[in-house]
Amino acid sequence: MTSILAQANADVRLDANAVDYLLVAFYFLLVLGIGYMARRSVSSSLDFLLSGRSMPAWVTGLAFISANLGALELIGMMANGAQYGIATVHYYWIGAIPAMVFLGLVMMPFYYGSKARSVPEFLAKRFNRTTQRIQGVIFAVASILIAGVNLFALGLIIEALLGWPLTVAIPVAALVVLAYTTLGGLSAAIYNEVLQFFVILALLIPLTLVGLNRVGGWNGLVEKVTAGPGGAEQLSSWPGTELTEIANPVLSVIGIVFGLGFVLSFGYWTTNFAEVQRALSAKSMSAARRTPIIGAFPKALIPLVVVIPGMIAAVLLPQIQAVKAAGGSVDGITYNDSLTLLMKDLLPNGILGVAIAGLLAAFMAGMAANISSFNTVFTYDLWQDWIKPGKSDRYYLQVGRWVTVIGCILAIGTAFIASGSQNLMDYIQALFSFFNAPLFAIFILGLFWKRMTGTAAWIGLLSGTVAAVAVDLLVRFDVLQLSNQAGSFVGASAAFIVGVGVAALVSTAGRPKAEAELTGLVWSLTPRASRTHTTEGDDAGWYRSPQLLAVLVLILVVVLYIIFI
């Protein structure tokens, strides 16, 4: 994608007119307006960094899903839809929904109930300060690296759409994100994520409708895909052998269920603070538990307007057809160009402006999510709990504002690091295997095993990360013959297994924390009563039950799988 969008300006340049730019400008006006208005509501560091724990569940739920629905995800998943067809839905239905439900039902009572303000702070309560600090530093570095990827991709889009050079586009994009996050803190980021959610739908829905219209409806699409190079196999989700690169259908199904459905997705959704932070800002335990489950509903339905346009791109657009016939890049065009090419070919002026606003919004939200979570971890876990403890709340609020500025400047730097990577999706997958899988390993062990010690936690965390980096190097230097995608999966699995193994070994040598200190932090030591929540006032009503919503979303996924089996 890097090289592609950079060279192929003329080919991808959209024919936007004055009305389109006006619609984009109006969106930016609202975004900055939200930042300005949210400023009125920031009077403490908790307001700035955790929205004062005041958000209703529908807002945090949509922000939860939007923080993940960045443009990298959009472009990457539409590209997968073009390349693999229906099997791409596994990334959503098995790779996200079960983990989101697990987060809401099982883990949120511990996160929200412990009053921890961040994932590292939770680790401090369950384990010790060393674990908190190590995870704090790792998370801060990871956030800035990933924010840089989003910023770089945003710069590429601006370059492609408007013709601005990257050296101008990247700082300008950073400035807009900086403006609204410094003004309004997490509230502004979350409100903009919700707004972004709707604008992205206003990009995807017309694209899908017009696309289906052009290929002759669903039946026309089925006919054309069957006749195409992928064949009828691309119309069914199972066994997904093409996606997993595992020829044996049984092993392929096992790979999808355990690899994608367990190690990768649970690691990402349950411990990634950029996600968890949205739920922590909810106004009550019940709202916090509902946050990921409410987010799961749109997550289950989004592939209908992402994967289907991807498949349409592969049968409708001559450029993508050529890519598919050749099995790789043709004239600098790859599957990653599906989204922008579809926008160019299918959307007339007017709705095109809305679509451009949606695409820009998606990149900004991805970066804002990383910056706002970096902010919280740096201010609370590194600055307040370690480097400069015991100052006034006003002082930490100021620190939070300055850290936002510094974070954005650092992200401009990491954006240029990302520009050196050949494939942004591979780069980001490798980062996830380094940072998320080891954290998930010690997290899950610590939640269910009361004998796990603090020393075990940070040693397990570090050895898991070392394992993932080692696998990455082995793949990079061709010692292990794997594709990049399979490489990051093996890396994540190795990180998980090494993390759990080392932590278990070290724990047997040390003395566990007293049981009284672990109430509310370990499953078996937490009475059932304190794992539940009130059901009165704003949390009353059967439709606000997290369990019921969880069952409904799981049924929805099963029904969708039956339709697209």
């Binding site: 009305v19 109006f26 509501s41 009077s43 509230s187 509310g520």
Partner: protein, 116 residues
């Protein structure tokens, strides 16, 4: 429509300010946020109107070629106006109200760390 719903927000958040004044801890002002539903309604009202007008006055042959014959600006314009009306209606039916003392106490109880 815009003005009246924003006026309603301002009216709704005023009393909460007054109620929280005078507490020891820095009062959480985030509970007094402006109503996001109004912003969503305004966004789609403006987008819907622009698309509706585009669909009615400036759809030419080239546009219809792109879309395979449907007037997508007109359709999406109408769709967005419906979304704007739904959010606007939600704001009017369930305006933001400042939390009562009872609800605040309940929230504090719900927030208490488990087992501490």
């Amino acid at each position: 429509m815009t003005d009246s719903s924003e006026g309603r927000d301002a009216a709704g958040t005023g009393p909460a300010d007054a109620m929280q004044a005078g507490t020891d801890a820095p009062p959480s002002a985030a509970a007094n946020l402006f109503d996001l539903r109004t912003i969503i309604a305004v966004l789609f009202l403006v987008y819907g109107l622009v698309l509706l007008i585009m669909g009615l006055v400036s759809t030419d042959e080239a546009d219809l070629m792109k879309t395979g014959g449907s007037n997508i600006n007109l359709d999406m314009g109408i769709g967005m106006l419906v979304v704007a009306a739904l959010f606007g209606g939600w704001v009017l039916l369930r305006p933001l109200t400042p939390p009562t003392a009872e609800q605040l106490a309940e929230a504090a109880r719900d927030d208490r760390p488990a087992g501490h």
